[in-house]
C-alpha cells in the first residue's frame, strides 16, 4: 500500500514539475532576455552572454517615452478602478435593496447588452470621442470615460454579494432613522470589503491590459499611448530593430505592480469571487 502511494506520488510530481516548467518557461525567458546586454534582437539561447541593465536604463532614459506611457496607463487604470467601483457599488446597492418599476427589465437589458463584445462599438465610440475632443491628445480622459461609462453593467457579482447581507439589518437601521445612503455607507460597505476590492482589481486590470481601444483612441499620437500600444510596436521588426530585449524589460515593469497588487489582495479576491457567487 505504501509503495503504491509512493509510485503515485512520484508520477504526480513528475507531471506537475513538467507542467510547471512549461508554464514558467516564458516568464523565465522574459526575465532573462530583459537583462541581456549583447544584442537587442531575438536569439536562440536563453541565458544572456552578457548581463546588463541597459534595457532598463533605456526605458528610464530621455530617449524613451516609456515613463509617459506608463504614467498614462497608471492614470487610466487608477481612475477607472476608483470610479468604476463607485458606480458598481451604487448600481448593485440599488438593484439589490430597492424595488422599483422596470428593475427586472433593466437587469435583463443589461444582461443582453453585456453579451456584445465591447469592441463592436469601437468605430462609433471613436467618432463620438473625436467630436468631444477626447482622442489623440485627449486619449487618456477619453479612455477613462469609455471604461467608466459602461461600468454599471458589471454589477452582477457585487449585487450577488449584497444580496447575501440580511435585509433585517437594513430594516433595523431604518427603524433607527438611517437613510438609504447611510445604510450603504455605514453598513453595507464596511461589510463588503472583499467584493469592493474584487471590483476595483477587475476594474484596474481591464485598462491595464487594454490594447484595442487604446490604439484607436490615441490614433498615432505618441504621447497618448498606453504601454501596450506603445510597446507592441517594438516587436515589429521593420521599424524597430533590436528592441526585443527592451520590450522584455518593459513587460517586466508592467507586470510588477499587478503582481504586487494581487499578492497583497489575494485573500479578498478569492472571498469576493466566491462570496458574490453564492446568490448571484
Amino acid at each position: 500500500m505504501k509503495r503504491k502511494q509512493r509510485i503515485n506520488n512520484t508520477i504526480c510530481y513528475i507531471v506537475l514539475i513538467l507542467m510547471s516548467i512549461i508554464w514558467l518557461f516564458p516568464f523565465v525567458g522574459l526575465v532573462l532576455q530583459s537583462f541581456r546586454g549583447e544584442s537587442g534582437g531575438m536569439v536562440a539561447y536563453l541565458i544572456p552572454h552578457e548581463w546588463s541593465l541597459k534595457n532598463y536604463q533605456y526605458l528610464f532614459g530621455s530617449g524613451s517615452k516609456f515613463l509617459k506611457w506608463y504614467g498614462n496607463t497608471l492614470t487610466i487604470a487608477l481612475f477607472v478602478a476608483i470610479l468604476q467601483t463607485l458606480v458598481v457599488i451604487c448600481v448593485s446597492y440599488a438593484l439589490s435593496r430597492m424595488r422599483f418599476r422596470g428593475r427586472k427589465a433593466l437587469m435583463n437589458i443589461w444582461l443582453v447588452l453585456g453579451m456584445f463584445p465591447g469592441f463592436l462599438t469601437m468605430i462609433c465610440l471613436y467618432f463620438l470621442l473625436k467630436t468631444l475632443g477626447l482622442t489623440e491628445s485627449g486619449a487618456v480622459p477619453g479612455l477613462i470615460l469609455i471604461s467608466v461609462a459602461s461600468s454599471g453593467m458589471g454589477y452582477y457579482v457585487c449585487k450577488g454579494y449584497f444580496d447575501t447581507v440580511p435585509k433585517a439589518l437594513d430594516e433595523a437601521a431604518i427603524l433607527d432613522g438611517a437613510t438609504r445612503a447611510q445604510i450603504l455607507v455605514k453598513m453595507i460597505i464596511p461589510m463588503s470589503k472583499p467584493i469592493i476590492i474584487y471590483t476595483a482589481l477587475v476594474a484596474f486590470m481591464a485598462p491595464w491590459c487594454d490594447y484595442i481601444f487604446a490604439s484607436y483612441v490615441a490614433f498615432g499620437y505618441e504621447k497618448g499611448y498606453n504601454v501596450a500600444v506603445a510597446m507592441t510596436r517594438w516587436v515589429w521588426t521593420n521599424d524597430y530593430q533590436g528592441f526585443f530585449t527592451r520590450f522584455c524589460a518593459g513587460g517586466i515593469l508592467v507586470a510588477i505592480p499587478v503582481t504586487i497588487l494581487f499578492m497583497c489582495l489575494q485573500k479578498y479576491y478569492v472571498e469576493g469571487v466566491t462570496g458574490g457567487a453564492v446568490k448571484g
Binding site: 473625436k130 475632443g133 491628445s137 490614433f219 533590436g242
Partner: protein, 432 residues
C-alpha cells in the same frame, strides 16, 4: 412628477452637450484642420479666424527611425521659407502600415503628410486620403526619380505621391564563411546543410513567394481604375512555368536547412537570409566580418537554371487633401522638399534608406553600399510592385503554408496544376 422633471432635465443636459460638441468641432477645424490641437484650440481660433491665413498646424507621420531626421529637415525648410513661419509642424512616429490603416479609418484626423509603402496607394486613393500632385510638381517628380518609383506613385495616369526611396525589395544576405557560392540556391542549401545552419526565406508571404513564380516567367498583376478599384487580374500561374516554380518551392521546403522567415532579428542560426535593406544593420551585426550581400540565386526550374525574381518596392510620401489653400501649398512644398535629391541623400546617410532620386543614387556613398548594390542588381529582375487586393496576401500565405507543411511533397504535376488553377481562379475572382 419629480421623476419626470428629473428626466426632462437630464434630457436637456444631454442635448446641450451634443450641441456644444457640434459647434466646437467645426470651429476648431476650420482654420487649422488639425484635430491634434482640437481641444486646446477650441476657443482661441474663433477670435483670430480672419487673420488665420498663414497660421495653423500641420502633422507629419513618419516611421520612428526617421523622426529626428524629419524634424531637422522640417526645421531647415521652415528657416528657408519664412512665409510659412505661422505654421506649427509636428512629427509623430507612426509606422508605414499603421499610417495607412489610420488614414483609412479616419482621413480627417490623419496626418497631413505621411509616409507609406506603395502597395497601399490604391486603398489610400479610393479612401480619398491622397491629393494628386500639381502638374509642375508631378513633372519635377517624374524627371528626378527613377522610373520604377514614379510608376509606383502613379495610378491611372495621375501622380498621387512623392517617391522617397527605391529600396523596398529583397535580396540575399549571407555568411561568407559558410556559403561559398551565392549564385545557386542548390549550392547555398548544400553549404548550409553541411554547416548545420539555416537558410531563411519567407515563402508563405505574398511578397517573397513571387520570387519563384516571377522568376519562372509567370505574371500576377492587377489593373485598377482611377478610383482604385480592381478591374482585371493578369495571371498565368496555372501553367508549366507555374508548376515548375511551385516544384522549386517544394524542393526548397524539403531541405532540412530551410526555415520560413525574413527577419534577421527573429532568425537564429542563420547562414543566409532573403531579406531587405531595412535589416542591413542587423545583418551586419549578425554576420560581422563574414557579412556579404548578393542578388537572389538561380534555381532549377523545369531543368534550366532560372534567376529568382520578385517585387521591387518604394516608399512614398503622401499629402492629404486640404480645405485650406495656403496650407495645401505648404504641404506640397514641404513634401517636395522632403523628397528632393539632397534630402534623400541626407536621409540615406542618416538612416540608410536607399534613394529613388537619380542624382542621389549616383552619389559615391550610395554606390559603395553593398546591400544597396545587391538590391540594385536584383531590382532589374523584379517588377515594380503594383496594387494587390488585400485577400491576395492571405491566399499566398495559404499556398506557402501548404508547401511548408509538406502537403505537396509527393504530388504529381496534375495535382500541382490543379492547386495553381484554383489559386489563379481565386485571384481572378478578386477583380471586378
Amino acid at each position: 412628477m419629480k421623476k419626470i422633471l428629473a428626466m426632462l432635465l437630464a434630457l436637456v443636459m444631454i442635448f446641450a452637450l451634443a450641441a456644444c460638441g457640434q459647434q466646437a468641432a467645426p470651429a476648431a477645424e476650420k482654420p487649422a484642420e488639425a484635430p491634434a490641437a482640437e481641444a486646446p484650440a477650441a476657443e482661441a481660433p474663433a477670435a483670430e479666424a480672419p487673420a488665420a491665413v498663414a497660421t495653423g498646424s500641420l502633422k507629419i507621420w513618419v516611421p520612428e527611425a526617421t523622426v529626428e531626421f524629419t524634424k531637422a529637415q522640417v526645421a531647415a525648410f521652415m528657416e528657408a521659407n519664412p512665409e510659412y513661419a505661422g505654421y506649427e509642424v509636428s512629427v509623430e512616429p507612426v509606422g508605414e502600415g499603421d499610417a495607412a490603416s489610420n488614414m483609412l479609418t479616419d482621413v480627417e484626423a490623419g496626418a497631413d503628410i505621411f509616409n507609406f509603402a506603395q502597395d497601399q496607394l490604391a486603398r489610400l486613393v479610393s479612401a480619398g486620403a491622397l491629393i494628386e500632385l500639381s502638374d509642375e510638381n508631378a513633372a519635377i517628380v517624374a524627371a528626378e526619380n527613377d522610373a520604377g518609383s514614379v510608376a509606383a506613385a502613379t495610378m491611372g495616369g495621375t501622380v498621387y505621391a512623392y517617391p522617397l526611396t527605391s529600396d523596398n525589395g529583397y535580396f540575399l544576405y549571407y555568411d561568407k564563411s559558410v556559403v561559398s557560392d551565392p549564385t545557386s540556391l542548390a549550392a547555398i542549401l548544400a553549404d548550409c546543410e553541411a554547416a548545420g545552419k539555416d537558410f531563411y526565406m519567407e515563402i508563405n508571404s505574398g511578397w517573397y513567394q513571387p520570387a519563384f513564380f516571377f522568376g519562372a516567367g509567370c505574371t500576377l498583376t492587377y489593373d485598377t481604375d482611377d478610383a482604385g478599384a480592381f478591374t482585371k487580374c493578369n495571371i498565368d500561374y496555372a501553367s508549366d512555368k507555374g508548376v515548375g516554380a511551385l516544384k522549386a518551392m517544394i524542393e526548397l521546403a524539403k531541405s532540412p536547412a530551410f526555415k520560413n522567415g525574413s527577419s534577421v532579428s527573429n532568425a537564429t542560426n542563420v547562414a543566409a537570409i532573403v531579406d531587405g535593406t531595412w535589416d542591413s544593420s542587423a545583418a551586419k551585426e549578425l554576420f560581422g566580418d563574414n557579412y556579404a550581400c548578393a542578388k537572389l540565386p538561380t534555381v532549377d526550374i523545369n531543368g534550366t537554371a532560372t534567376q529568382l525574381g520578385g517585387f521591387g518596392g518604394f516608399k512614398l510620401l503622401g499629402v492629404k487633401p486640404q480645405t485650406d489653400e495656403a496650407k495645401l501649398a505648404l504641404c506640397d512644398a514641404l513634401a517636395l522638399y522632403l523628397s528632393s535629391g539632397d534630402v534623400q541623400l541626407a536621409r540615406y546617410q542618416a538612416v540608410g534608406w536607399g534613394p529613388s532620386n537619380i542624382a542621389a543614387k549616383a552619389d559615391p556613398s550610395v554606390q559603395a553600399d553593398e546591400a544597396l548594390a545587391a538590391l540594385g542588381e536584383q531590382l532589374s529582375y523584379t517588377i515594380p510592385q503594383g496594387q494587390y487586393p488585400g485577400d491576395y496576401w492571405g491566399l499566398a500565405t495559404a499556398l506557402g503554408d501548404s508547401v511548408i507543411g509538406g502537403q505537396y511533397n509527393d504530388a504529381d504535376d496534375a495535382t500541382l496544376l490543379a492547386a495553381l488553377q484554383s489559386f489563379q481562379d481565386t485571384c481572378i475572382g478578386y477583380a471586378g
